[in-house]
Amino acid sequence: MSLALLASLLASPGSAWASHPDLYGLGAESIAHAGAGVADLSSMGAVFTNPAGIAFAERSSLSLGLNYTASALSANGQTHALPDPVGVTAGAVIRFGGGSWIARSVTLGLGAYVLPNTLAHLTTGYPDEPVFAYYEGRTERLALLPAIALRPHPRVSLGVALNLFAGLSGPASATDGPARAVELTLSQQVRARAALILGVRLAATDHWSFGITWRQRFSVPYATDTHNRVGGVPLDISVAAEGLATPDELVFGARWRGPRLGLMADVGYARWSAWSGPAVQVRARISGLELTPLSPAPNATDAFSMRVAGDWRHRAMTFRGGLGVETAIVGEQSGRTNLIDSTRLIVGLGAAYALPPAWGVRTQLVLGAQMHYLAPTTLTKRIGSPDEAARDPRVLADEDASVMGVQTRNPGYPSITGSGAVFALSLAWEVTL
């Protein structure tokens, strides 16, 4: 493992880079179960849900799927589309052949969510722009999750996966060169970042299983310090941003499985209160004048979730479904920020069809669909004097008290109402080797 990755595992400050699996689950099976499966999943999707689950896979498998996400979110009548709606899910679970200790006890896994044309798309708007905080700017990146699981006992497994990505930082300067042209000097480094996903699974009986998963918050910043002199004017600007946030998460799960029917439930906690928000932090010095405003706080709140799901097998078909509810990740937005979120209802549906074996290889088609419904929520602004707004981030300033009425360009004044739904669809082809 590279030294930089090892260091990032030991100290991972700030917020994080979310991905498509963080919102919907990895793979069509997980999507159909509304993201539940900490104590059940043993296919490729388990590398995200609970890496310990891959140790319970009976055979090696490969998976390749196509995903589509659509948004019906709107705020004050304006729709909020999600960019990059199409993605590809790929992964594998590798069991070693033979009767050796490795073959019995060690399983490798790999899961990936890939945008078809883009490694990542980082978007961070100005602090007062309305944003659906849970959905916008959180999924447009490559998710790469290698995993390994150990099964020291037939009923117990331990697993670990890495959530891999990168951040960007470095200095830059622009000065007038000898040929009167602007000469730019820049040194930017893209550094590897990693977060852990740890899981444990216990097959207490032939029917009952339990699992725990902890996902580490993932910090991938963009930071640049620039020192410039243009037209004889000194201008220094420092920029720092953290997008695609994912907090620390802890999920407990239980599952009962019979010959045909399986039922599962997950309970989760996500520590959003530690999130610093999506805004770009800018500090500037122009001709010696310091401009270092306070960054608006996001008023993020911890979130709790509960998901239940089930599947039923009949001949070559498996039918799946799930329900979930998750509380909002941000509280009131009475000041400059307009981060929109509310309690969401999650519904999943899906099915799998086992195709006739070809050349001794078993394959199946898997379909999963998931809907998130956001109950309407209204953010109402609190207007105060400029001095009051300077002291309290929950207050929005009247920018010109000499004019009657409230003068502000904040798009959330006097209030902003957001609601809607998000849909995720996945179709995958799985090969069992």
Binding site: I102, T124, Y126, G170, A181, Q188, V190, V239, G243, V282
Partner: protein
């Protein structure tokens, strides 16, 4: 808020060159052969050396390696201060059958210790080692699939992946509002994929003679970003809007064609010879194009910058290597390669440092035998690259920095664990 001007530098890369795998090899086995391997039939390294190799393999192989290269290069008799190149490499090759078809899949991944990718810009007049400064500091992802046509011929296709940087860019608002200062930003940056295709052929003409051919496309990291700034700073005299448009290319790896052969001289002794043609003449401008649109009330005495193409030359790189099974468990390797520089003599305004290179390498493999149901092998290699001293006498005595000279030595090594099952 009044409108004014502020700007910041944006991402602007300069010309880039080879990847670390192309310069230093993927695994100790090909490093010890001075990079030769197109006809070696290495299953684990197939994605990088020859995509066709895996389908003719007999078992899956996984290799994990760690390597370090020290860049002892000087410019104008002073140390160039270049960072050493070091990182972890993983390579996997899996031959398998699907019914009557003999297939193979392989992947290679190189992750540098420090930076996944280094993006650097320097003014065109500043001396820099264009093949070694930031351009060997990047991740490498190669993947390939192959199919065997009978028992002696296989074809493979693959790709090497990189990214660009584009999008709406970066926006700033800087100034003052009632009761507070304003310094806000917005980002819209995309990293779209770029991929260069690779095609390979492996032909086992006989039990003693194997031919290999590999062709790969050019790859680079292109940047197209704008910086939009709006500011009003009372008392500073700055008021207006500014747009800086930056376009450039970094981490350029040229298209190449490699042909080679492996001969089993005896049952224990093998020799490799190969030749690689690299199309450096297609390399784009080494510095970025900077476009300025600035309205700040007074005209800044600056111009938009544009630097012309570098005029690099196509090159041919010959490599030879030998491999000896000293015992049943130990294999020894050695190799030599000569890499001429594609950079023309820097007698003008630019100062791109690079020289011809002689490379010598040696290594060994020790087979540990069966362990936990798999066969383990330890590989190690050491390499030395000598940069032939060069001098470029500037046409203009006022050229920044004066005449360009350079030389140096690159020393390094790599070690790996290889597992076959």
């Amino acid at each position: 808020m009044k409108r004014a001007f502020a700007c910041a530098a944006a991402l602007i890369p300069s010309l880039a060159t080879a990847s670390p795998v192309e310069t230093f090899g993927l695994l100790p086995t090909d490093l010890a052969r001075a990079g030769a391997g197109v006809a070696a039939g290495d299953v684990a390294a197939s994605a990088a050396l020859n995509p066709a190799a895996t389908a003719l393999g007999t078992r899956p192989e996984l290799a994990l390696a760690y390597g370090w290269q020290h860049l002892g290069l000087t410019t104008r008799a002073e140390s160039a201060g270049l960072s050493d190149v070091h990182g972890t490499t993983g390579a996997l090759g899996i031959p398998f059958r699907w019914g009557p078809l003999a297939l193979g899949a392989s992947a290679a991944l190189h992750i540098p210790d420090a930076d996944l990718l280094r993006i650097g810009l320097d003014p065109p007049s500043r001396a820099r080692w264009v093949m070694f400064d930031n351009r060997v500091h990047r991740f490498v992802i190669d993947a390939a699939v192959s199919i065997a046509l009978g028992s002696r011929v296989s074809l493979g296709v693959g790709a090497s992946v990189l990214v660009d940087a584009s999008g709406h860019g970066i926006g700033f608002r800087v100034g003052a509002a009632p009761s507070r200062t304003v310094a806000e930003g917005a980002l819209d940056v995309s990293l779209p994929f770029r991929a260069a295709p690779t095609v390979g052929v492996l032909v086992r003409a006989s039990d003693r003679l194997t031919f290999g051919l590999r062709a790969s496309g050019a790859l680079s990291f292109a940047v197209a970003l704008d910086v939009n700034a709006t500011a009003s700073v009372p008392g500073s005299g700055l008021e207006g809007d500014g747009v800086i448009s930056v376009r450039g290319v970094d981490h350029y790896t040229p298209a190449e064609l490699c042909a080679g052969a492996r001969v089993a001289i005896t049952h224990h002794l093998r020799a490799d010879a190969e030749i690689t043609w690299r199309r450096w003449s297609d390399a784009p401008s080494p510095s970025s194009d900077v476009g300025l649109a600035i309205q700040i009330g007074v005209s800044p005495p600056t111009l938009a910058a544009h630097v012309s193409a570098p005029g690099y030359r196509d090159i041919v790189v010959p490599r030879v290597a030998v491999e000896l099974d000293a015992t049943r468990a130990v294999t020894l390797r050695a190799g030599y390669a000569f890499t001429p520089t594609p950079v023309p003599s820097q007698t003008g305004f630019t100062s791109y440092a690079d020289g011809d290179r002689h490379a010598l390498a040696a290594g060994a493999s020790v087979r540990l035998g069966a362990l936990l149901g798999a066969d383990f092998t330890l590989d190690a290699a050491l390499s030395w690259q000598h940069v032939v001293p060069f001098t470029a006498i500037k046409r203009s005595p006022l050229s920044p920095g004066g005449d360009l000279t350079g030389d140096g030595e690159i020393l390094g090594g790599s070690a790996s664990v290889r597992v076959g099952w």
